[in-house]
Amino acid sequence: MNFNHKEAMRYLRANPEDKTADILVDTVYLKMRNEVQARNVVKRYKCKVDSAGVTLDCGVRFTSENLAKHLQDCEELILMAATLGTKVDTAIRRLALLSVAEGAAAQAVGAALIESYCDEVQAKLDTGVLKQKSRFSPGYGDWKLEEQRLLFSLLNCEKNIGLTLTDGYMMAPSKSVTAVIGLTKKDQCISEHKCANCANIDCEFRDK
C-alpha cells in the first residue's frame, strides 16, 4: 500500500517544511505498517436519483440532498467499505501511551493509509465505459450518519471485512471508510475537487 507522507503531514496539521515532523511521521509509519490488515468490500447497484435522495435497485433508499446532487447524473453506483483492521487501532493506542506526538502522528498516518487504500481499491475497479466520481460518505453534508446502518447491512461489513458499527454510529476499527461512488458517463473523474460537495466549509482539513 502506498504511503502518502504529504497527506499524513496535512492530517497531523504539521508545517510542511518541518523536518522534525517529517521524521516523526516516518518513524511512526515504520512502527505501524506491519499492523495493517487492509480489507475491502464493494458492490455495484443501479440507482435512481431524485432531488431528495437516491434509491437503489434493491429497494434501499439513501436520503440526502447533498448526496443526490453529487450523484445527479448517475444511473449506477458502487458501495464500498474498507478498513485497516483492529491491530492498527491497538498500535495507535500503544504509540499514544508513550508519546502524544507519536499518537497524533499515528492517527494521521492511519488516516493517510486508509485514504490511499481506498484510492487503490477504486483504481482497480473495472467500471467499463463509466467513470468513477469521488467517494461520498455518510456524515458528509446533510447525509445522516445513521444511514451507515443501511450501508453496513448491504455490504455485510461485519462478516466480510470485520468492520462494525457502534451504537453511536462510529466505525470500529476506527481507520475505516464507507462510501458511495457514483458512476457517470460524463468525463469527470476521481481527481475532481475532493471536498467540493461538503457543506462543512470551515473544516480544517478542507482541500483548498
Partner: protein
C-alpha cells in the same frame, strides 16, 4: 439415537452445506431476515435441511445463524421462539433417522467487543448463553459456533454456552488466506484457547475455498488435539452481474476435501455456495476414509487475541514488573487507577523482550478484583503479548480469567487443599495454563524430592479436573542463598526432574539473591544455571541488562537461536550506543524544543540542585508550555511541535514524580472523559497530558463513559472542573445528557471539546466553556482555577 460424542473422532462425519445460499435460491431477498423464514416458510427451510440429510449429511445447522439478541435486537419473534421453531424444523427433517444430528447454529453478533469496540463482554456472554439454553430445551444435539472472526467473541460464546447447557460445542472460524482472523488472531492462538475452554471440535468455515483452507490445515492440526472440521465455501467469491457466485463444482470440491480428510479432518461439510450436490459428491468420495481423530501434541501454549506463545519451543521471558511489592510509584498508580502508567510499565517490558507479562495488582487500599478487571483489558487494548494473571485472591482470579482475551497463564496453585479446591476448577473453566508452586500446608520442602512430590500431587489433582499435564507449569521456588547455600542447587534439581518427565517449569529468578548486595550478578548467573537445567519460563526484570544477556547468551549456546541470528541482531546490528550528547540546555529550552532526553536530564539536574518540585514546575516548565501554547494559538507553531513539547514536559514531570512521589507534585483535580457512545479518545488524551504538565491531578475516566460514572466521579472528588469530549454529531446528545446530570449533582464548571462542536453548539447544550483545541482546554481550566 446415538450421541454425537460417541461418534466424534471415531468415524468421519459430514456437515451440511450452505443454508443461506439455498434459501436465497428459493426467494430469500437481500436484507430479509433468514430466521423469520422459520415462521413464514417453514416448509422451504425444512426442505433445504432434508435435502442435506438425504445427501448423507450427519449434521444440519439450524436456521438460527443471526438469532442473537445483539443482532436481532427488536425481533418480531422472540429469540426463544425462533430457536424453538428452527430446531423443530431441522429435527423434523431428520425424521428420527440414525446418526442425523441438529446443530444449534450461532453466528457472530456483528459487534466488536470492548475495549476494541463497544459491546461489553458480559452482554455477548448473555446473548450466546440464552441461545444455548433455548437450543438445548428445543432438543438440539450440539452447538456450532461458526463464522467467527474474533477470539474474544468466541470466548464469550463458549462461556455462555458452557454456563447454560451441557451440549457438545463445536467452533469453526473464518480466516483469511494469510491465516489470520479478521481481528488479527492466528490459527494457533485461536485453537489453543478453544481447546483449553473445553470445546469438542474446531475448524474452518466460510471466507475461503477448500484450496485455501488446505494451506492452513497443518497449523490447526499442530495447534491442538481436537477433531477438525472443514466447512469451506465453494471457492472464493466472484461478483457477477451484481451477484456473489462461487465457482468450485461438486466433483472438484469433493476432490479437494478428500485430500484434507486424508490429512486428518474428522468432519467435512460446506459453507457458502455449496449445495446438496457438493455434499453428495463429497460423501461419495470420502465415505470409506477414517476420521482424522485426535492427535497427541504435548505443547504448552498460552495465547492472547492475537498470538500464541509456545513455551515448549524454548525458554521464554515473563516480565515481572507489574507487581507493586516494593514499588512506591506503582502502588500510587494502582491507588489512583492510573492505568496508563501500568500500561507503560507493560510496554517497556515488551520492548525489552518479554514474551509474557506477569500482572499482579494486589496492594493496600486497592480493591483487587475491581482493579484487575480494569488492568487486564487496558493492557490487552494496547498489546497482544499474553499475560500471566498473578493473584491469590480467588475473586480477583476469576474476574481476571473471565475477562482475559485468549488462553492466559495463571500464577498460581499450590499443594494446599484450599488452593487445589479453589484454583483448579477456575483454571479448568477458563482454560488457563497453571503455575504449580512446590509448597503445601507444611511449607516448602528443603529437598528436591519433597518439592517434586508436591508437583506430582498437583499434576494428579489437575488431571482429575480434566486439566492435562501440559497445561501445568511447575515452579520449583527459588529461595535465597543467603539463608541456605543449597537453595540454588535444589531448585535446579527440581527443574531437571520435571524436564526429564516432559513437564515445563517457571520460576521467579531474582528471589535467589534476596538479602544480598549486587543482586544482578547472582541473579543472572543463577538464571543461566536454571536455563541450562531446563527452565522453561524465567519471571525476571527484562530491563536488567545482565538478565537479558544471560537469556540471549543461553539461547545461542543451547541451539535455540539458529545461526545466532537473534544474538547478532541484539549485539552486533544494534546501533552503536552513541554517547548521547545532551548539550547543556535549560529545562525551559528543552521543553520548548521538544527534546525528550534533554528535558529529563535538565529536570534531574534541577532536583539535584535542590530546587523544590513545585518551583521547577511553576517557574521552568509552565512558562515553557505557555510559550509553546501561545505559539500554537497564534499559529506560529504547529501541532507536532506542541505535542513534542508536551512529551518533553511529561518526561521531566515523570523524573520529578519518581523522585518525590506523585502526590507532592500534583495540584487541583480535573476530571476528563469521552462521553458515552464515543470511542475516539485521541483528543482527550492530548488534553490529559497537557493538563498534567500544568500540574493538575487529572482523573481520566476513559472513553465511552456512562453519565453516572462522570457524575459519581465529580461527587466523590469534588472536582471543580470537568472536561468532556465528543467527536460525532451522534454522540453530542450524550454530552448534553452528561452536562444536565452534572448540573443536578455538582457545581463544577464544564469544558467541552470535539470535532463537531462549535462555540454556539457548546452553549446550546449548556457547557460553561468551549475549547476548540487542547491548548484552549488548558487555558479554560486555568481560568476556572483563577490562574
Amino acid at each position: 439415537m446415538s450421541n454425537i460424542r460417541e461418534l466424534l473422532g471415531k468415524q468421519l462425519l459430514f456437515f451440511d452445506g450452505a443454508t443461506g445460499t439455498q434459501l436465497q435460491a428459493r426467494g430469500l431477498k437481500p436484507g430479509e431476515i433468514p430466521e423469520f423464514w422459520n415462521f413464514t416458510h417453514p416448509d422451504i427451510v425444512g426442505a433445504v435441511h432434508k435435502a442435506y440429510y438425504d445427501a448423507g449429511s450427519n449434521i444440519v445447522k439450524s436456521n438460527t445463524f443471526g438469532a442473537n439478541r445483539v443482532k436481532l435486537n427488536n425481533p418480531v419473534f422472540s429469540i426463544k421462539e425462533i430457536i424453538k421453531a428452527a430446531v423443530d424444523i431441522a429435527k423434523k427433517a431428520a425424521d428420527g433417522r440414525e446418526n442425523k444430528f441438529v446443530a444449534l447454529n450461532m453466528g457472530p453478533t456483528g459487534k466488536l467487543l470492548a475495549p476494541y469496540g463497544d459491546l461489553p463482554f458480559e452482554e455477548a456472554v448473555g446473548a450466546f448463553g440464552e441461545m444455548a439454553r433455548y437450543g438445548e430445551e428445543a432438543g438440539a444435539d450440539l452447538i456450532l459456533i461458526e463464522t467467527m472472526s474474533d477470539i474474544y467473541e468466541i470466548k464469550a460464546a463458549i462461556i455462555g454456552c458452557k454456563e447454560n447447557s451441557s451440549l457438545p460445542i463445536f467452533v469453526t472460524m473464518t480466516f483469511d488466506e494469510s491465516g489470520k482472523l479478521l481481528t488479527g488472531g492466528t490459527v494457533a492462538a485461536a485453537v489453543a484457547m478453544c481447546e483449553a475452554l473445553g470445546v469438542e471440535a474446531v475448524g474452518f468455515n466460510c471466507g475461503l475455498g477448500p484450496e485455501q483452507v488446505q494451506k492452513l490445515l497443518p497449523e490447526m492440526l499442530a495447534g491442538c488435539n481436537l477433531p477438525i472440521i472443514t466447512n469451506p465455501n465453494a471457492g472464493l467469491p466472484v461478483e457477477r452481474d451484481g451477484k456473489t457466485c462461487y465457482d468450485v463444482e461438486p466433483d472438484e470440491y469433493a476432490e479437494m476435501m478428500y485430500e484434507m480428510v486424508q490429512q486428518g479432518v474428522s468432519i467435512a461439510g460446506g459453507c457458502c455456495g455449496t449445495t446438496p450436490a457438493h455434499i453428495i459428491k463429497l460423501i461419495e468420495k470420502c465415505k470409506n476414509l477414517p476420521a482424522g481423530g485426535y492427535r497427541n501434541n504435548n505443547n504448552t501454549v498460552v495465547s492472547s487475541y492475537g498470538r500464541a506463545v509456545n513455551i515448549s519451543e524454548g525458554p521464554v521471558v515473563i516480565g515481572e514488573r507489574i507487581n507493586p511489592t516494593g514499588k512506591k510509584r506503582l502502588k500510587e498508580a494502582l491507588q489512583t487507577s492510573d492505568l496508563d502508567y501500568i500500561c507503560r510499565l507493560g510496554l517497556e517490558q515488551i520492548n525489552a523482550g518479554s514474551h509474557i507479562l506477569d500482572v499482579n495488582v494486589g496492594t493496600n487500599g486497592v480493591n483487587e478484583p475491581e482493579m484487575i478487571a480494569k488492568v487486564i483489558p487496558a493492557l490487552q487494548a494496547i498489546t497482544d503479548t499474553p499475560l500471566q494473571i498473578d493473584t491469590s485472591n480467588y475473586i480477583a482470579m476469576e474476574k481476571a480469567l473471565r475477562c482475559y482475551n485468549g488462553k492466559p497463564m495463571l500464577n498460581s496453585v499450590n499443594g494446599k487443599e484450599e488452593s487445589l479446591n479453589e484454583v483448579l476448577p477456575l483454571a479448568k473453566k477458563y482454560g488457563a495454563v497453571v503455575v504449580a508452586l512446590c509448597l503445601d500446608d507444611k511449607g516448602i520442602p528443603d529437598t528436591a524430592e519433597g518439592r517434586i512430590a508436591i508437583a506430582d500431587r498437583i499434576i494428579a489433582r489437575a488431571e482429575k479436573y480434566g486439566i492435562p499435564s501440559r497445561d501445568i507449569v511447575v515452579d520449583p521456588l527459588a529461595l535465597t542463598i543467603s539463608t541456605d547455600a543449597k537453595n540454588a542447587a535444589t531448585a535446579c534439581e527440581v527443574i531437571r526432574a520435571m524436564k526429564a518427565r516432559g513437564m515445563n517449569t517457571v520460576m521467579g529468578v531474582s528471589n535467589i539473591s534476596f538479602g544480598l548486595p549486587g543482586r544482578d550478578a547472582v541473579n543472572s548467573t543463577f538464571f543461566s544455571m536454571a536455563l541450562a537445567a531446563g527452565l522453561s519460563c524465567g519471571i525476571i526484570n527484562p530491563q536488567s541488562k545482565a538478565m537479558m544477556d544471560a537469556y540471549y547468551g543461553y539461547r545461542a549456546l543451547a541451539g535455540y537461536d539458529e545461526g545466532c541470528k537473534e544474538y547478532v541482531a541484539r549485539y552486533a546490528d544494534a546501533p552503536k550506543a552513541q554517547a548521547t550528547i545532551v548539550s547543556e540546555i535549560s529545562l525551559y529550552d528543552a521543553i520548548v524544543k521538544g527534546l525528550l532526553d534533554a528535558s529529563k536530564k535538565a529536570a534531574a539536574e534541577e532536583l539535584a540542585k535542590g530546587a523544590a518540585p513545585l518551583d521547577i514546575i511553576n517557574q521552568k516548565m509552565i512558562p515553557a508550555l505557555d510559550f509553546v501554547g501561545q505559539g500554537f494559538e497564534n499559529k506560529t507553531m504547529f501541532l507536532p511541535q506542541l505535542l513534542m513539547s508536551a512529551d518533553a514536559a511529561k518526561a521531566a514531570f515523570d523524573v520529578i514524580r519518581e523522585s518525590v512521589g506523585a502526590g507532592e507534585a500534583q495540584g487541583e483535580t480535573v476530571i476528563i472523559a469521552t462521553v458515552h457512545g464515543d470511542i475516539h479518545d485521541i483528543g482527550k488524551n492530548i488534553v490529559k497530558v497537557l493538563m498534567e504538565n500544568y500540574g493538575y491531578r487529572v482523573i481520566d475516566l476513559g472513553k465511552d463513559v456512562p453519565v453516572e460514572t462522570v457524575v459519581n466521579a465529580a461527587k466523590e472528588t469534588g472536582a471543580k472542573a470537568v472536561g468532556l469530549s465528543a467527536l460525532m454529531t451522534t454522540t453530542v446528545a450524550a454530552m448534553e445528557e452528561t452536562i444536565k446530570a452534572l448540573r443536578a449533582n455538582s457545581d463544577c464548571k464544564i469544558v467541552v471539546g470535539g470535532a463537531v462542536l462549535t462555540e454556539d453548539y457548546a452553549q446550546a447544550i449548556g457547557a460553561d466553556y468551549y475549547a476548540p483545541n487542547a491548548v484552549s482546554a488548558v487555558n479554560q481550566v486555568n481560568e476556572i482555577f483563577g490562574k
